[in-house]
Amino acid sequence: MENAPEQPPAFAMVNGIPFNQLPEDLYIPPDALEVFLALFEGPLDLLLYLIKRQNLDIVNIPVAEITQQYINYIQLMGLLNIELAAEYLVMAALLAEIKSRMLLPRRPDAEDEEDDPRATLIRRLQEYEGIRNAADEMDQLPRMERELFATEVDISALAIEQILPDIELKELLLAFQDVLKRVDQLSHHQITKEALSVRERMATILAKLEGENSLLFPQLFIRKEGRHGVVVSFLAILELSKERLIDIIQPEPFAQIRVRAASPAQAEAEND
């Protein structure tokens, strides 16, 4: 870098410009810096970044220096209103503690690594670095939907017997009862044999009219059903007419009454 030699290494490179200080100068678009800082996955990630940036070995962290840089960073994040996870502050406290302990003279009998205040931190950094690298490498593995694609071979030519669910008549009624229970205005007595046969006849008549231009009124009755059948058919015709499903036409006075399906385009009947 062509900056003054005394200057500490840049905190960040934004658009190729080394960034050394808290953003008092307006060179750096704060948004860009924010994006950059938000990239860190946590305090360990930030620490690793600071160490790697100076080509330092994890096991020889210059704690004092790194602590200062780390604190500068989280101040910067605070200044930019980046939501700072509590973990960052915990780490700052830990670093400060290590730093202070490093300043104290070591007891001569404490040769153990256990007593080196840096040991735990270093172990965590190493572990995290390993995982971070593994995650990177895993991301490079060829994977489905990106480098690899399943073959899609159609099976519609196969005769596959689909087993369809069974239902029982009772279930149907139970379902209907549940529906009725939910609907206040409908009450049980409406579901009588009588009403049902009218409903059925309505369906039969509509089916009869399907594909026909129109039918003569008498054609909708079946003589051999007798009086009861005639009444049912008649009620069905009236109901269909009321629901505007059929038209009843009499072209001129005293002419034969004809009935036709209300839908003019018979052809549509199959597609809805």
């Binding site: 139970l174 399907e210 549509e268």
Partner: protein, 199 residues
């Protein structure tokens, strides 16, 4: 392409081989049938082969798979690989599952159609108080339990649904009159531990 067998073996230029290879890969990866045009346009813009090249590749691939248990087949919307039908017997067990159960919504829809026919989808929604998914209606149509028996003369001309002869056959009854009524249900369910019954 292998067809004109007039002794001269035409050595294919390499770029043609490549095209064939890519076309084959595309056909295998595609989730629906592909037309020549669609295959052509799957290539990067500056590398698109002519339609004729695609056509030739398809012919060559079809030939290559002549002896295999899958075939490249032309259907209405393009070409696709499919398992040959003569293998049904062996492959079909892959797809045999336990019969699923119909949903509450489907049962209710069918019940409403049976007891209230002819009804439109709107009617069913009014009665149930919730929307009726088209997949339910579709399932019932495919099962041939219901059919469209007309159209209502209102804006949109909604289809009127009713039950079919197959529906009656399935439940082993001859007319809708034989559908159980609620009164009868109340009697027959007396004492049986179902959710229905008395209020």
């Amino acid at each position: 392409m292998t067809v004109n067998v007039d002794s001269t073996v035409i050595v294919q230029p390499e770029y043609l081989m490549e095209t064939k290879r890519i076309v084959e890969a595309i056909l295998f990866a595609a989730k629906q049938p592909m037309t020549c045009k669609q295959i052509q346009q799957t290539f990067p813009e500056l590398e698109q082969p002519g339609l004729q090249d695609v056509q030739q590749a398809i012919a060559a691939i079809t030939e290559d798979y002549q002896s295999r248990p899958i075939e490249l087949k032309q259907v209405a919307s393009g070409y696709r690989f499919q398992v040959r039908s003569e293998l049904s017997r062996w492959v079909s067990r892959l797809f045999e599952e336990k019969p699923p159960k119909y949903s509450r919504a489907l049962l209710e829809t069918l019940a409403i159609i049976a007891y209230r026919q002819p009804v439109t989808r709107g009617d069913i929604e009014d009665i149930r108080g919730v929307g009726v998914s088209s997949s339910i209606v579709q399932t019932l149509l495919e099962r041939e339990w219901i059919k469209v028996i007309g159209h209502k003369e209102v804006p949109g001309k909604p289809a009127l649904l009713g039950t079919t002869k197959q529906f009656l056959d399935y439940f082993n009854i001859t007319t809708l009159n034989e559908l159980p009524t609620l009164q009868r249900l109340d009697l027959s369910l007396d004492g049986t531990p179902t959710s229905a019954g008395k209020e």
